[in-house]
Amino acid sequence: MKTEEMIVKSKAVRQIASLLVGIAVGVAFHYLLFRLSLPVQPFIYVAF
């Protein structure tokens, strides 16, 4: 198995990547709450 594959398949890497992805999602949700407090544009396709 190549080094990259070993890294990708390692449990620790998988857990760290999962945690980072989760944190990014949590940050995005927090930002979303803020962003909605500023004027937002309607979705284009809602008008169709």
């Binding site: 990708v8 945690l19 989760g22 990014a24 949700f29 709450l33 909605l36 407090s37 500023l38």
Partner: protein, 404 residues
């Protein structure tokens, strides 16, 4: 493996439980950082809110930001003087180092701390009024002032643009529970245009009470990077710049020619505005004398009853801003008389309502004004003298100063 393959592989093997823990960590982490940001003063060396820190450019100042500014600026024992109102009090056309509230601070001396929380187009009960009320226990020796036009009645939770500050403070439990005010607010917010967007606003402020997203992301926007593109930003790639890096862009009226300040092309429109200060409030009687038009004044009297809670009225100074003599002199003599009456009567009504009130500008020169309403820094210096005298008088009456 290519980078894309590594990415795909990792994505397909993400551990759901850890992702969910991460979501919680990310979200709760920012809520906690938001709570911390709410207690910190972002606006070091604060002079006034520039247009980069205003809803004009999609920056919605929180009540916590304003409270933090005051906590940094005011020393214990000082009398807090919060200036609200519109662009006239914000000092449009006055460079920051010549701003009239700087002169006011110098006039009043160290016993006072003057903070300018006026915004362009805001009313009596907007931003600064809310911050003052929220700080009433921390700074019990306080005076709040705002400028207004005659018969301009305020809605207690503010103008549509700025009422977010009231609801921000309300949901954070910072305001006095006043049934009379609540009744007036409910009355207005059930009607268009005030009802428009009101439910969304209250939901947002309710959520912010729990999650502190406005304080956190305002901190980011002001100190680190901006996230929303706008006409005000400096081009497609520079919009990410933190708001603190933008200078206070206020021009100096005195460096402009009179022809630019008093544009001939705007004369008619401005005359309509000047007449608008009094035209609806008076009718002529059989003898040709101006008589107050009762429905307007009765409504005005009724609304000012609940503008602020009773306990705050005495420390509230309503300053009625007269228009530049450049326009007043162009009114017909009877119109001029009507205009003057409107200011005199409005001051009287505010006083009868339990507030303090004065007007200014009757003896000002055309040169004191930058345009119809805004003052040059010279006019601002004159205003600061008038206001300082009034503030000292109020401080005496309110018992903030030792008895003479």
């Amino acid at each position: 493996m290519t980078a894309a393959e590594i990415f795909r592989e990792l994505r397909s093997t993400l551990a759901p439980k850890t992702v969910l823990v991460g979501v919680l960590v990310g979200f709760v982490g920012l809520c906690l950082l938001g709570r911390r940001a709410a207690r910190e003063d972002l606006h070091k060396d604060f002079t006034r809110f520039t247009q980069w820190v205003s809803p004009e450019t999609k920056y919605y100042v929180t009540v916590n930001e304003m409270m933090s500014i005051v906590r940094t600026k005011a020393k214990p024992g000082q009398i807090l003087v919060i200036v609200g109102g519109n662009s006239v009090f914000r000092g449009v056309g006055q460079p920051p180092d010549q701003l009239w509230t700087k002169r006011l601070q110098e006039n009043l001396g160290d016993a006072y701390c003057v903070v300018n929380f006026a915004f362009n187009g805001s009313g009596i009960t907007d931003g600064g009024a809310v911050a003052a009320e929220a700080l009433r226990k921390e700074f019990p020796k306080q005076i709040y002032m705002a400028n207004a036009a005659p018969t301009q009645w305020p809605i207690p939770d503010g103008t549509i643009t700025y009422r977010f500050v009231y609801w921000d403070a309300y949901h954070k439990g910072l305001l006095i529970d006043d049934p009379a005010r609540t009744a007036t607010i409910n009355h207005f917010n059930a009607l268009p245009p005030y009802s428009g967007g009101f439910k969304e606003l209250t939901m947002r402020e309710q959520l912010d009470r729990w999650f502190y997203f406005q304080d956190y992301w305002n901190d980011v926007t002001f100190a680190q990077f901006n996230t929303v593109w706008g006409f005000y930003t400096l081009g497609p790639t520079k919009f990410l710049r933190a708001r603190k890096t933008y200078p206070d862009p206020e021009p100096d009226f005195l460096k402009m020619t009179m022809a630019t300040r008093y544009l001939e092309a705007n004369l008619e429109a401005e005359m309509v505005n000047v007449r608008g200060c009094s035209v609806y409030a008076y009718n002529k009687d059989a003898d040709g004398k101006w008589q107050p038009y009762a429905p307007i004044w009765d409504q005005f009297t009724e609304y000012i009853k609940s503008t602020v809670p009773a306990e705050l009225k005495k420390r509230t100074l309503i300053v009625l801003s007269r228009n530049s003599p450049y326009y007043i002199e162009r009114l017909a003599p009877d119109e001029r008389e009507r205009d003057n009456l409107a200011y005199v009567d409005a001051v009287k009504k505010w006083k009868e309502g339990g507030y303090e009130s004065i007007d200014y500008g009757r003896d000002f020169l055309i040169e004191d004004y930058g345009d119809r309403t805004h003052l040059t820094w010279q006019g601002g210096a004159k205003l600061s003298g008038i206001i300082a005298d009034k503030v000292r008088e109020m401080s005496q009456n309110l018992g903030y100063l030792p008895a003479k």
